[in-house]
């Protein structure tokens, strides 16, 4: 590890102090021990995660051969991508609105914007269930239109997060730039595109990633808005592990974890570690 340099420890290099390292190490052990155990048991030759009975790869074959699991994954990703795009647009607009304008009932609007974060999931789920049923929202549409109800629900709880990020990012914007652009004859739209948007970009990226995550892992609200053709990965996993976790689920999770690690590492390398650090 590069953390272990050879120079003497300066007062502020807390990271190089032993107690600090052990503390971080212990925390990481606490966070990772269960996941490592889960990965190890995905190779266990037994139907249940109780005792080690021998090495096997059969649950990986099973997970890959499980069409509905793969289909659920595709649905999840499609929904997450759509929800992210719409949340970023809506969130950016809402963020700019709160940052830029003074208007009547502003604090009420702000309060309502924070509500989707506070409302108990089950309550929002039931609300969405009733809403789509009352609207007679069409079901049985061809893919991907059949994902519309879930996507709408996801956008609803994702975009307020984006709005918050964008708003705090915009706080550091220098208004004079905008005015200068307008003085030079730029239209409202040109100013937005060439001045505001570039400044907003890191906030948009961060917001997009957050929306994507939230959407991808949501179970409760998705459960209430999904139909027979619109099973997502969390809903599928939930119904598979309600009674006991089979090594097949362990295997599927392990694949996901490994993919996440590898691809995040690649992304960090490609985009440059520094670039990402600056984004935030």
């Amino acid at each position: 590890m590069a953390l272990f340099g050879r120079q003497p420890i300066a007062p502020l290099e807390y990271t190089r102090k032993l107690w600090m390292r052990s503390w971080v190490g212990a925390t990481l052990l606490f966070l990772y021990a269960p996941l490592i155990l889960l990965m190890v048991f995905s190779f266990n030759d037994s139907k249940r995660n109780v005792v080690w009975k021998g090495f096997t790869l059969k649950y990986y074959e099973k997970a890959f051969a499980n069409e509905s699991l793969v289909e659920a994954m595709v649905n999840s990703l499609t929904i997450a991508l759509l929800a992210t795009v719409f949340s970023v647009i809506l969130g950016a607009l809402a963020g700019v609105m709160l940052w830029r304008f003074r208007f009547p009932m502003k604090s009420a609007v702000e309060g309502v914007m924070s509500l989707p974060i506070i409302v108990p999931e089950i309550c929002l789920g039931v609300a969405m269930l009733i809403f789509f049923a009352r609207m007679d929202w069409p079901t049985g549409l061809p893919w991907p239109l059949n994902l519309s109800a879930i996507t709408i629900a996801h956008i609803t709880f994702c975009f307020p997060f984006v709005a918050m990020v964008v708003r705090s990012r915009m706080a550091s914007f220098n208004r004079e730039q905008e005015e200068a652009a307008k003085d030079l004859g730029a239209s409202e739209w040109q100013t937005f595109r060439d001045i505001l948007l570039p400044h907003m970009k890191p906030g948009l990226i961060a917001g997009a990633l957050l929306a994507f995550t939230l959407s991808l892992d949501d179970f409760v609200i998705t459960f209430f808005t999904s139909g027979p053709d619109t099973i997502t990965f969390p809903v599928k996993v939930y119904s598979m592990v309600r009674f006991s976790v089979t090594p097949e689920v362990n295997a599927a999770s392990t694949i996901l974890i490994i993919l996440t690690i590898v691809l995040t590492a690649v992304a960090l390398k490609l985009q440059g570690v520094k670039g990402i650090a600056e984004t935030h």
Binding site: V50, L77, F161, R169, T213, L216, R242, L259, V262, H280
Partner: protein, 373 residues
């Protein structure tokens, strides 16, 4: 965003992203790599004999179908069965309550058949389309929760009892007393978290019918539950067989089918229906209102009730089958399994619980008090 000013809550939400952001990149690539667009197989399949689009949306419990049943049905009829899973009757009911999002066939338990029929959520079945109904054992052809089987067809039945680890008990626990009213197995017991079932079984222990409890009974039972609570390790969410198998507890209140499944894995597990009698449950095939493919659903129900098909399902799920013709085809090891088929004199003391809209909230509230006590 490093030089942003912020106040209050926004700071937290925003900075959460930083980490999320870094890690999200992985997922976004990760997911895409392993996936392709699902094919819409239904379109090019041949039209089934029912005149409907050859498709069926089956909403079932997990591990509740034969390994090849769906593929076999597709081979026989051309209908593509899309099976999705629910984890409890409550979930099923909550999801269909506001309207049917497109399911053709569901598998509610007996009291939920009653509840859904009362709420006009399931449709009467056309018996002419289900000739295999004759395969059902006589006692399942007419049941108290669905007279003349107007709305439902039998799929499995279950009885609640005590699953136990033989090497850890002094004698087979043949009375509810060990779970409900004794500290003999303190800290080694798990019971159900479903309020209604718990109160009704306490009623059974007290010598009452599961359907005759009064508010006074509920009060008395609540006091008993609070008294027994220190001896209980957990209220389980119908995963009691897992707790028993892992050695977390030595006695567990569970359904016979669930315990029968783990008995095949661990010879040290036993099951008994207490002498006071117990509560029966039955899972049934029903067609929800607004089902897009009701004819296919009838055809599939008829197929599931076939003797050979029923045998294959039973071989996988090991639950007691109400299908007499299928049972006849099963090996003796199954037919003579006391856990799967308890003796007739024990069964005689078991009852179905009726759906009772007045008492259910009372059970819930009393049980919430028990948990909070």
């Amino acid at each position: 965003m490093s030089n942003a000013t912020f106040g209050g809550n926004k700071l937290g939400r925003r900075s959460l992203l930083q980490g999320l952001g870094v890690a999200a990149i992985g997922i976004s690539f990760g997911g895409l790599a392993g996936c392709s667009k699902p094919e819409s197989g239904a379109k090019d399949a041949k039209i089934g004999g029912t005149g409907e689009e050859p498709k069926l949306n089956f909403y079932n419990w997990d591990t509740y179908i034969g390994e090849t049943t769906l593929a076999d049905f597709k081979g026989a009829s051309g209908v593509d069965v899309n099976m999705t899973l629910f984890a409890s009757n409550d979930e099923l009911f909550a999801k269909l309550r506001a309207g049917n999002p497109g399911y053709d066939l569901i598998v509610p338990s007996n009291d939920f058949v009653e509840r859904m029929a009362a709420a006009d959520m399931i449709v009467p079945l056309d018996h002419a389309l289900i000739p295999n109904f004759k395969n059902a054992a006589p006692e399942y052809q007419d049941v108290p929760y669905d007279p003349k089987r107007k709305y439902s067809m039998p799929y499995t039945w279950l009885a609640l009892g005590i699953g136990y680890r033989k090497s850890k008990v002094s004698s087979p626990p043949d009375s509810w007393k060990v779970l409900f009213d004794s500290d003999e197995y303190k800290g080694r017991i798990a019971v159900l978290s479903e309020a209604g079932d718990m109160f009704r079984l306490y009623g059974k222990y007290l010598g009452k019918s599961v359907n005759s409890l009064t508010p006074e009974d509920i009060k008395a039972i609540e006091a008993m539950m609070i008294k027994q609570k220190p001896n209980i390790k957990a209220f389980h969410e119908d995963n009691g067989q897992d707790l028993l198998l892992k050695g977390e507890v030595d006695l567990v209140l569970e359904y016979n089918g669930d315990i029968a499944q783990i008995m095949s894995e661990d010879a040290d597990i036993g099951f008994v229906i207490p002498k006071e009698g117990s509560q029966l449950n039955s899972d049934n095939l029903c067609i929800p209102k607004g089902a897009p493919h009701p004819k296919n659903a009838h055809a599939f129900i008829n197929y599931l009730l076939d003797a050979e098909v029923g045998k294959k399902i039973t071989e996988t799920i090991l639950y007691p089958t109400p299908n007499a013709a299928a049972k006849a085809l099963m090996p003796d090891s199954y037919k003579n399994n006391q856990a799967v088929f308890p003796a007739a004199e024990v069964l005689a003391k078991c009852e179905y619980a009726k759906f009772n809209p007045e008492l259910q909230p009372k059970y819930e509230k009393a049980f919430t008090r028990v948990r909070a006590a």
